[in-house]
Amino acid sequence: MVNPIMLILIPLLTVFLINLVNIKWPKFSAGLSFLAIALTTGMAFTLLPEVMQAPIEVVIAGTKAPIGINLLIGPLGLMLSLIILVTSLLVSMYSFSYISDERKGMYSGLFLLLIVGSLGMVMTGDIFNLFVFFEILCISSYILVAYQRNEHSLEASIKYLLLGSIGSLFLLISIAILYRGLGTLNIADIAARVGELPPSTRIAAAAFFTIGIGVEAAIFPLNSWLPDAHSSAPSSISAMLSGFVIEVALVVLIKIVFSLFAFAALFWLLAVVGVVSLLIGEFAAYRQENIKRMLAYSSIGQVGLILFALSLGTEAATRAAFLQIINHAAAKSALFLVSGYMIIRTGSYQIADYRGIARRMPVSGFVFFLAVLSLVGVPPLFGFFSKFSIVMAAVSSGSTGATVLTGLVLLGTVVEAAYFIRVLQHFYQREPAKAVTAARSERGAGAESSIEAPIAAMLPVLAFALFLTGGVLLLGSITGLADAAVQDLFARLVSVLA
């Protein structure tokens, strides 16, 4: 049996190893980080059968919880870990050719730290460790956003850092309030005894916690950093940040809300906030001329949709939300990765400069097309099933409020379809833009030659596309895992209300 702590330890120790290797042989660092992620992903898959039977608890340093620190890996944690690991495995493969400057070593190390932070957040059973892993995640993403060292990325990183640090402060205050009230840091122990707290203390802790994690989960109105940060990071990092980092923060928020602060009012507030994020994100995306900003705003919209589904508080809606997280991770990563090479080839971020690019980058154009269809929810792609089940779950929950909000969700989807179709029209136009005719690749000149991205970068993108089309065939086993994750989440809810 693999000890689940290895999922965190292997990437973390590889970071130190990379920093050593980087002194002498910097070109091996990317390969090393890829191997570490591949090994970790394999291990996570071998844990699957065991976790589906019973959650694994890892006692650290020989002291049992609630006094000691523990890791708790249930189906929910493992499902998120798999999303994190598979996405990062493919993105790290893409990075081989995409990150070509001399700072590869630093990039690979921070990339692994980002994964360590995310994995730790979903696996830990201790609220202070949650804070520490949250900080690992945040600090590595601040640095990666600033990786390109131009004015935009530095500004975006500073803005992200200031807002993110305020979020971390609020999280810390919430932890201090909970510890003062209950004298424990173990999440399960807090959940069992949270009823002992006076209601005002619980509400204060819930408010600080929601705001604290809400900054990273990009909940409206705490998301003003996101469009800048996601659009000025390297495209591979944008794919990671949009693909799973926001969703991890969101699910951790919902997990804590379920197990500690299950107030009906908070669920309603989060549902409304989710729909507001969705509408603001989609309408803002509609107005963008810069492709990466458009994708970043679209992520705000998608996260709003996921938050809406999660906070409906029914099992069907939560399962649908998990499917949507998987769909978004694959589709948005593919979109960011494809646009990464379009930006390199044309040297422009403007959508107007991509007129006719699909003729010179046929595979990229087609993957973009597929990912857009899946994100909007066109059958028979994976996104159709997730979005359809969100809408069905919301309508069948029976309350008028949920039905009204569902109407707004559908409006958001229409807007989303509108701006993505506009981009696709640009891609498939006959008259190419100047930037497209002038684009050159390392393979050859000529206005008609292919400027497709290198194969090493296209393979992961194709893997995402394959999942979006063929994922429907896996729907049975994915739904099985999602169902187990839903049970995992709802088991916490019952223990609080009982």
């Binding site: 520490v132 600090i139 004015e151 500073i158 200031l162 402060l169 201090a176 840091l185």
Partner: protein
Amino acid sequence: MMIPLSIHTILNIGSFGLLVIGLAIIFTKRNLITMVIGLNVADVGANILLVNAGFVKDGTAPIFTTAVGSAQAMSDPVPQALVLTSIVIGFGITALALALIVKLYRRRTTLDVSKIRGLKW
């Protein structure tokens, strides 16, 4: 009439005061360095609140010596351990923020947030 305040209450009020002052600096000032100072002030507030969560009335330092043998008479050591972690994280974030600001200053030669495009709150 004076209301007797315990040191615990005073520290709690003080830490919330520091938090409010820090956040006010971040949201009202336009100079990036000042904003980082505000972040530090708020950070100190949160740290005091956290370490204060382990307050025990008349508690001594949580070290077993021959003079003090009972764990009941000691302050709770867990928040003190937590706050050390939190201070280190705060230090790291400050260092990173200042490094980024230096890089930005070399390109823009201004620290004024309102003059830096895209940095509007």
